[in-house]
Symmetry: C2
Subunit: 421 residues, 2 copies
């Protein structure tokens, strides 16, 4: 691979998605000191159309339309859900709902899935999964007297399908797994894991948070039954944006989620005496949908759909390929260790480097205009977002990282981690 | 009572809150055909400062500050929670958290409360409570093998404390009740009910949705243990705005909610292996807080706090007093029946009128620029919001209502209820 900056520029020149960059805030500075934002996998950049969308919903629909606007808001969860589902996830219409947070959606679908496997008393998760996934599994298991089987996973390489298969037996009700591991970016084999679990009689509940908008997820074709995910990373929905949940159409009527709210009720405005879940994906709703926040999600998800998930995934692989090659050449000599799968087909769109001083390096990088994420233990996570990160941004970020490692200025930064990282 | 329009104008002239009206969108039209919005108890009007607050959070904090803004966002749930708690609810700092929807918060606190009363197997609610409250209670009871005791409540007069007391015994774990009944506006005696339930060893979980911002709620002084509520009604937080939950300080460490998410975790960014709930009100959080939506809630709640809840409640009583007197004089002769308590001390800030053609009347009123709510069975609900509704608005609304009843044009409207009402 040609590792010159000119080669990176050539990749940008040939990038069919290059035009999307200018549709995000903060991308107009092309100078040498510009911010290199490699944390779109934590919080995606703001689409330039978002403030106008928020203003329109607020001023026109809420301010002027008042309560009458509920005629158009009532379906916001399924409408934006379909933008995500059909545009980004490869789901069929009516399989995705925008509602609640990822954690709450995980809880709802996990309880529903466990209820659908009576007599089975084990929940399986990865020992290396994102905290909220493991905590939600632990909480549901504790409340139901179930056992959690935490499958050991390699922090850098992800979960070994054979190890997972070994943990599946007739006691397992539900398996909770992330498609893309939050630390390493390791990409699970969704179709294979789903099929293996199904053979064992278990349901798999996938967390798509670090995958949606970054890798191709053909939920319909790969036979996925249940999934949840976040919209503030690669879907650019804004800080704390509402999450989505996916339930395969054929499974919807068999499942009942545990939080019986009025937005999951059939003919809700009849205000009937007893809870009677709505048909379809609506039954997985709970409270009044977040109309303002949903407007921002719609803008961000529509951009991903417009760019096309296959093109985004291909660019993500190419950018992380370049990042790995540059790290090998420029950073590894200074003590970083690749903490992500080397095979691009086994990665999402972020790459993690381990270094004993990762927290100090993270702080120093931010001060030099490179925004990565610190992740325990001693890891620097670099997430080029294919919608708006350029190959030259990756090149320049590694170059600044190299310079930092060479001059050692990171040693001046606190070793003690701050609360928010 | 002087029922002339001039008398209503005089009340407006003497209103110490009159200046707040101009701080809401859609209040600049003072003409005879202006919109008379009496549905602030369903969706509060938009504060004029809200679009700028949304734009600032989006463009500056998200667009420019990117992930670095989490340093200020991380506490948004408790910060806005305190604006509501100390400014509106009479809670102490650190007792209110902005998080999730009212239904999800109800679920979390109900399960936590039931867990805190082991050996008790009955949940009590009002047979006339808002659907989501009854459904959440039913769902939790079903999942735990508990029994629901639905206390009969008069649809117009509210729950009789003596009837409730008769339903309390050593089997009751939790009582779920609304402070202001969603149909009639009947106001519960919070202190008395809480004390009675406590004597019986039960916890009361109050739903403040139709009360917060409309009546004085001295949660600290009245000994309330648990509460949830909505911010899109009298708190003017916007459609589907996030809800709040309240847990008395002394009770927080004893309770554990069932959805173990990373925003309820102690030192969350340590990403530790096991769930260990944060100290204080933070443990009732679950997922990433809704930053954009919270900005709108903060503007609305701060306006309520600035106006002062005692003054708002007094104006609410005065407006509903006028409304009842006008209805007696002008509408009752045409067949409406008061479906709210007559005693202003027993009402929130809305008044409901029953009429066999309530749905047709509601549609016709909307077409004549009066926005009420239809509520089952055959009721028209009229909610003057003390922050921005004037006494002359009440007067004019009743006048248009009277004219409609006299000319009978409502008979041209569909009898069949539409989906969104």
């Amino acid at each position: 691979m040609d590792l010159t900056r000119a080669a990176a520029e050539a990749l940008d020149d040939a990038d069919p998605l290059a035009g999307f960059r200018s549709r995000f805030a903060g991308t107009d500075d092309d100078g040498p000191d510009r911010l290199l934002y490699l944390d779109g996998n934590s919080l995606g950049r703001m689409p330039l159309d978002t403030p106008a969308a928020l203003a329109r919903i607020a001023e026109e629909e809420w301010g002027r339309g008042l309560v009458g606007s509920w005629a158009s808001w009532i379906d916001v969860g399924t409408r934006v859900g379909d933008v995500i589902g059909t545009g980004v996830l490869g789901a069929r219409p009516g399989e995705v709902l925008l509602a609640d947070s990822t954690s709450v959606d995980l809880y709802k679908l996990l309880v529903a899935a466990a209820d659908a496997r009576p007599g089975r008393d084990v929940l399986v998760c990865s020992a290396d999964d994102f905290p909220t996934d493991r905590y939600v599994v632990a909480g549901v298991a504790a409340a139901r007297g179930m056992t959690v089987r935490e499958v050991p996973a390699d922090v850098d390489e992800g979960l070994d399908p054979a190890v997972l298969a070994g943990a599946l037996d007739e006691r397992v009700a539900v398996v909770v797994l992330s498609v893309v591991a939050y630390r390493s970016g390791a990409l699970a084999d969704v179709a294979a894991v789903t099929a293996t679990a199904r053979e064992a009689g278990a349901l798999v509940l996938w967390d798509l948070s670090h995958a949606a908008g970054a890798v191709t997820l053909d939920l319909a074709a790969t036979g996925v039954d249940l999934a949840v995910g976040c919209t503030y990373k690669y879907l650019n929905g804004g800080p704390g944006a509402p999450a989505f949940l996916y339930v395969r159409r054929e499974l919807q009527e068999q499942l009942r989620q545990p939080i019986w709210g009025w937005f999951g009720q059939r003919d809700q405005f009849a205000m009937g005496p007893a809870y009677d879940p709505a048909p379809g994906i609506d039954r997985f709703g709970v409270g009044t949908p977040p109309v303002l926040a949903a407007a921002a999600v719609e803008v961000g998800a529509a951009l991903v759909a417009e760019a096309g998930i296959d093109r985004l995934a291909a660019k993500g692989r190419a950018m992380t390929d370049l990042l790995v090659a540059l790290a090998d050449a420029c950073l590894t000599p200074h003590g970083t260790v690749l903490a992500s799968p080397r095979d691009p087909a086994r990665r999402g769109s972020h790459v993690t480097l381990a270094h004993p001083a990762a927290w100090q390096l993270t702080q120093a990088l931010v001060d030099r205009g490179v925004v990565p994420d610190f992740r325990t233990p001693h890891r620097v996570r670099l997430g080029p977002a294919p919608l708006y990160t350029r190959f030259v941004d990756v090149w320049d970020a590694v170059d600044r990282f190299r310079a930092l490692l060479e001059d050692g200025a990171w040693r001046d930064y606190p070793q003690e981690r701050s609360r928010v990282t």
